[in-house]
Symmetry: C2
Subunit: 162 residues, 2 copies
DNA sequence: TAAAAATTTTTGGTTAATCCTAAATTTTTT
DNA sequence: AAAAAATTTAGGATTAACCAAAAATTTTTA
């Protein structure tokens, strides 16, 4: 349906950081802040800004900074949703505390398929808040589905794993 | 404790494939088989063999092939355990069918921390078999722990996520 | 067993992701 | 308007994964 957005792992991390600062905390994010937060050279941040701009996820103005576009916001929310759904799972199912859950979720969040996240979301009946009480954005593909339908594959080619 | 083994994502995939063929099916794995299975150029397989050899995970003999070392076997079993524990979770908790679970597990298995896998393992009381009835190797760090202990973090630096 | 066929490796690339330093540029402070 | 601070550019480095074509080796087979 929507256009494929191909985000490298770190690009996703920078994007969601941008979202948290800009949208959730309404703060302007400087290159230096990004650089310090991720412990990288400022030049690296500039480079990432340019890449995100090329993908139309931010509007980038030299020496001013990067501002998320509508597309960027949608994409960031998609990623943050994954993170927070995982946190819910880790806390409720594995009894992690919130801080630990956050760290663990960060390791895999951007690698998890939408489908897996939706399945967990359904299992917990579409939670609205993560363990630290932040909003979990809804996903139209997920809402309105019961937790009874089983997930089955198309049974295609032989797996390499198993 | 043991020496850190730094495996690139694909290296892990090739290593576990090698394990399944060599140890579980007792078949010799040729460069061509690997190349066809992963749909890559044979030259790529040779390159991977050399990398795995440099990491002492296989003994590589030109024109003959690669044979897993003891270290390689241990590492492969560690990775395959992750995969299979995830499969158990996907089938039991999210009601995936076995084939689908395998695919989904393959996406994240090598990224999951040992700790996360152990937590799931404990939650299911150290299952001995995956959904397709293959052995789940045991992990001394995991066995013997109850599922009651909660996982809490050391509360260190501020998180970028949440 | 020697030539042909098949397989494997080597050589010499490519692209993408992340990151860096130093110099240049722009903005902000004083 | 200097000086100081922040940011960008330019030019690199490394690592992961790939590939094609040529060379080397093994296997097949006539």
């Amino acid at each position: 349906m929507s256009v494929r957005i191909n985000l490298a792992p770190k690009e996703g991390k920078y994007l969601t950081f941008l979202y948290r600062k800009q949208v959730e905390e309404e703060k302007r994010v400087t290159t230096t802040i990004l650089a310090k937060s991720f412990r990288v050279n400022p030049a690296t941040v500039t480079e990432i800004f340019q890449k995100l701009a090329k993908k139309k996820l931010v509007e980038y103005t030299r020496y001013y900074g990067a501002k998320l576009t509508e597309r960027g916001i949608v994409e960031a929310e998609r990623l943050i949703r994954k993170h927070r759904i995982l946190e819910v799972f880790l806390v409720r199912f594995l009894r992690y505390d919130a801080a630990k859950a956050c760290k663990e979720a960060s390791i895999i969040d951007h690698y998890c398929s939408e489908e897996l996240i939706n399945a967990i979301c359904q299992a917990y009946r579409h939670p609205k808040r993560c363990p630290c009480n932040k909003t979990i954005f809804s996903n139209p593909d997920c809402e309105g589905k019961s937790e009874l339908e089983s997930k089955s594959s198309n049974q295609t080619v032989g797996d390499l794993n198993g």
